[in-house]
Amino acid sequence: MSINLKTNSSNNNQEKINFGKALPFAVIILVLILIAYFALAYYSKKIDAQIIGEQEIYSQKMEEFKKGDAKEALDFQNRISESKNLLLQYENNLDLLDEIQKYILPEVYLVKISADFDSNEINLDCRTTNYDYVSKQILSFKNSAFFSKVEAGDSNIVAQEEKVNFKLVLSIKK
């Protein structure tokens, strides 16, 4: 047999105390959440309008930029950049002639020089009186630091003129 020690009146008082305190808090929380939601929604729309405004300003400024002096400035800068590259290709072609003048033997003379500066290959058609000078001429060019390679080409004797024609292939050192 169980004995209930609680009276009805004390139960009712407990209910009143609990709900009397919790209900306003629950309402306040709900209201605050709703206020926060509507405020955020309102400011979101405002920010949307601001973003559209900024984008319009940007588009206008971009048009102004494209149609304005930017093209001219960019063109000039491009020309400077490309000129720098072109200046790196500067070659003084007289250096080649100077070097040939310096290393050619007095007994040898040129009939033809062909220089391809893309491949840095120089073909010389030379003439002299005997093969002794042919070998000396090859050695002389090999003494030049300007050339990385000296190769002997065909040679032949022209009996009527008592001359030796010979070819040399030189490479310019880079």
Binding site: Y37, A73, L74, Q77, I80, Y90, N93, L94, D118
Partner: protein, 262 residues
């Protein structure tokens, strides 16, 4: 009383539901929009700065017309064949060598570009971002002009003494318009006079030009940030190496009733 008991949990559940389904997504969206706005404002500020820098660049261009002229003479906007013929003729005439022929090929782009701009859509629409080559490092690695520089070959045959031929080559190396001798041939047997002192010179010379920029596609070029042209070293080199002939061609009087009359 029973309804009152249900109200508190009902409010709490509603609060949690509204928080999860409405407030939190709206707050996230709001935060993203705030960032978007900030980005948009930064973009506007950036373009405004670049517009200011562009005005400074424009002023610099106006104030340095001599430098501008030097650069445009060195690398013109168009092929200008008449200028090439004038240069070759003038140099030959100044050295007293006789010209046998001059011919000019059609222009072509270089086959082996060292760098291609990322937004480039052709020779006429150079992208602003593509030319961030303003930086020294990028340029240090390049030895040939980009694909945007057009290249054509002029050939010339002249005859004269060795000394004069040397002078012709030397003067070509120093003309104010960029050129580079590709092929050089000096021949003793080709001369018609059979004079031992008269040689014939055959040259193949590369000339270049760079077409004018027609559109600016983006803002990402270094000059729009720095607001100044990286000009000094180029001008110095041009002043040092390119001191020779500059074409200043004038067509003079023109027009006659019978174009076949000599």
């Amino acid at each position: 009383m029973k309804v009152k008991i249900l109200l508190v949990p009902l409010f709490l559940v509603s609060s949690i539901t509204i928080f999860i389904w409405l407030l939190y997504p709206t707050f996230s969206e709001f935060r993203e929009k705030k960032n978007d706005l900030l980005e948009a404002q930064n973009q506007v500020a950036d373009i405004e700065t670049k517009l200011e820098k562009t005005s400074i660049l424009k002023k610099e261009l106006s104030n340095n017309s001599l430098n501008q002229e030097m650069i445009y003479s060195f690398l013109p906007e168009a092929q200008n064949e008449e200028e090439v013929i004038d240069i070759l003729n003038n140099i030959a005439a100044s050295e007293g060598v006789s010209i046998s022929s001059i011919s000019i090929d059609k222009p072509k782009a270089l086959i082996e570009p060292t760098r291609v701009s990322t937004e480039d859509s052709g020779a006429n629409s150079l992208s602003a971002s593509g030319f961030s080559v303003g930086s020294e490092n990028a340029e240090a690695n390049t030895f040939v002009p980009s694909a945007n520089v057009r290249n054509f070959i002029a050939s010339m045959r002249v005859s004269g003494s060795y000394e004069r031929i040397r002078n012709v080559i030397g003067k070509l190396n120093k003309t104010k318009r960029f050129n580079r001798i590709r092929v050089l041939s000096i021949n003793k047997n080709n001369n018609q006079d059979n004079d031992a002192n008269v040689l014939s010179l055959d040259l193949e010379i590369n000339f270049n030009y760079l077409e004018k920029v027609k559109t600016v596609n983006s803002l990402n070029n270094q000059i729009f940030t720095s607001g100044k042209f990286n000009l000094a070293s180029v001008i110095e080199s041009l002043e040092q190496y390119r001191t020779g002939y500059i074409s200043n061609l004038n067509s003079g009087n023109s027009g006659k009733s019978n174009p076949f009359l000599p």
